[in-house]
Amino acid sequence: MSDYILETQNLTKDFKGFTAVSDVSLKVRSGSIHALIGPNGAGKTTVFNLITKFLPATSGKIIFKGDDITHEPPAVTARRGFIRSFQISATFPHLTALENVRIGLQRKLGTEFHFWKSDKSLNVLNDQAMSLLESVDLQTFASTVTAEMPYGRKRALEIATTLALDPEMMLLDEPTQGMGQEDIARVVELIRKVSTNRTILMVEHNLSVVSNLCDWITVLTRGSILAEGSYDEVSRNPQVLEAYVGSDDMNDAHH
């Protein structure tokens, strides 16, 4: 088994003659936090959609822990422990925070198709759900209906729900987008905390977050990989500076 938990080989996506992703070979090391950055329209979201099978690839392969998952349905991939979050917050708005997390936990119970059982049978999951909520600092919101929670807390809840599946790898699409500074700090801490024993691949424009958090960075432009390396390496790469930052100092790009 290689060090890489996820690999793409020559991944390509054409949209009616427009190549949004071309020949991307990406390697994500187990246990790392890996960032995907690049100018707008570079193809980051598309790469994400391809990896999670929300879009079919035109050509190329996706390999997760040595298995070719290119043509697997999304739910099956998810059950391998490979979970994504969405660019816009994805919770179940009319369930309480506790119930949200329980949805994640329920799969392990194996009773998801039991329509003849009482839902009281789910209460055995409450303790576990509560401790997950605690881990993201949401214990006080346990019986709040999600729709009434502040935005930043919803993102945290989403992460807690994802954690309930105990995923080996998480994909986060702009996890801090639309957040205030305070929430950003909270989410960065959270990501750091949950990254132990997990691999994280994220798209992020906020370079302070990236520099703070990420072990490895891949820069995309126009659908192809422009550069890869640690934050320091990448931020010194003149091509990256020109294409992405538009000045000669990466720090200008911090919010």
């Binding site: 999670t52 929300f54 998810a78 994504r84 198709f113 329509f115 003849w116 839902d119 599946l165």
Partner: protein
Amino acid sequence: MNYTQSQNKKLMVLFAVLFVLGLAAPYFFYPTFLMKVLCFGLFASAFNLLLGFVGLLSFGHAAFLGTAGYVCGMLIRDTGLSPELGILGGTLAAGVLGYIFGKLAIRRSGIYFAMITLALAQMVFFIVQKVPGTGGEDGLQGVPRGNLFGFIDLDNNVAMYYLVFAIFCFGFFLIYRTIHSPFGQIMKAIRENEPRATSLGYDVDKFKLIAFVISASIAGLAGATKTLVFQLASLTDVHWHTSGEVVLMTLLGGLGTIFGPLVGAATIVTLQNELADKVGSWVTVIMGVIFVLCVLVFRRGIVGEIQALIRRSGVN
């Protein structure tokens, strides 16, 4: 937690009261009318399970009601099966049909789902009309009620009533249970945010399919029972108007409420029964006005409005 517990207690009390009322009802009301209300109430509840709790608008539910009715009627009349087996057979047939519909329609969503179910139901209509033995336009007439388990004479209206009541309670409880089950919990999640549920590893289509089959089977149970009550299955049962009517019943009673469909069914059945004779051809106009008002003013439906009223007075 406490709040929901006391809610639950209230609900249980309500169930008990209604159950007792249901037992006493045939001594105060015309049993055949009550049976019609119960059959349509069950049908609408089955429909509500899909629309109100899963978010799928099926515009072809009459196909299940009708198919089960015809199958049950033919089994009893033409092969001499006992009433309980006839009902079982009808229900199974609706379940199988539900599986086929589901397989074909489930991947579509929103209005496309509604339309594909409508189209499939139209085909069922056509088949029922054409297949020999259904009686075509005349309907399947003269189905004997027979003896339940060989010794309860169902020609007695009161006996028949208690059978229908028992069937209704069973179906209704099954729906209630499904909504409040681990399965129901996932269904709710799917309705709220489908992509998210997929990304958590749930096979969304499979859940919807199961819900669809449950709903179709219960609709079938209602249809088979209805055939036994009226000793007749007709093209009306498979006509798209019936599919539309069940939407109206559910909405009028209160979409996504437990009792709404029953109340809606009772209201519409009563209106049709009573109004038709008093106002003649204006009945459609009056029905139209009711729907318009219901949509413009009482959107939550009868039960929904009452619930809202109670909640508001409870808060104050």
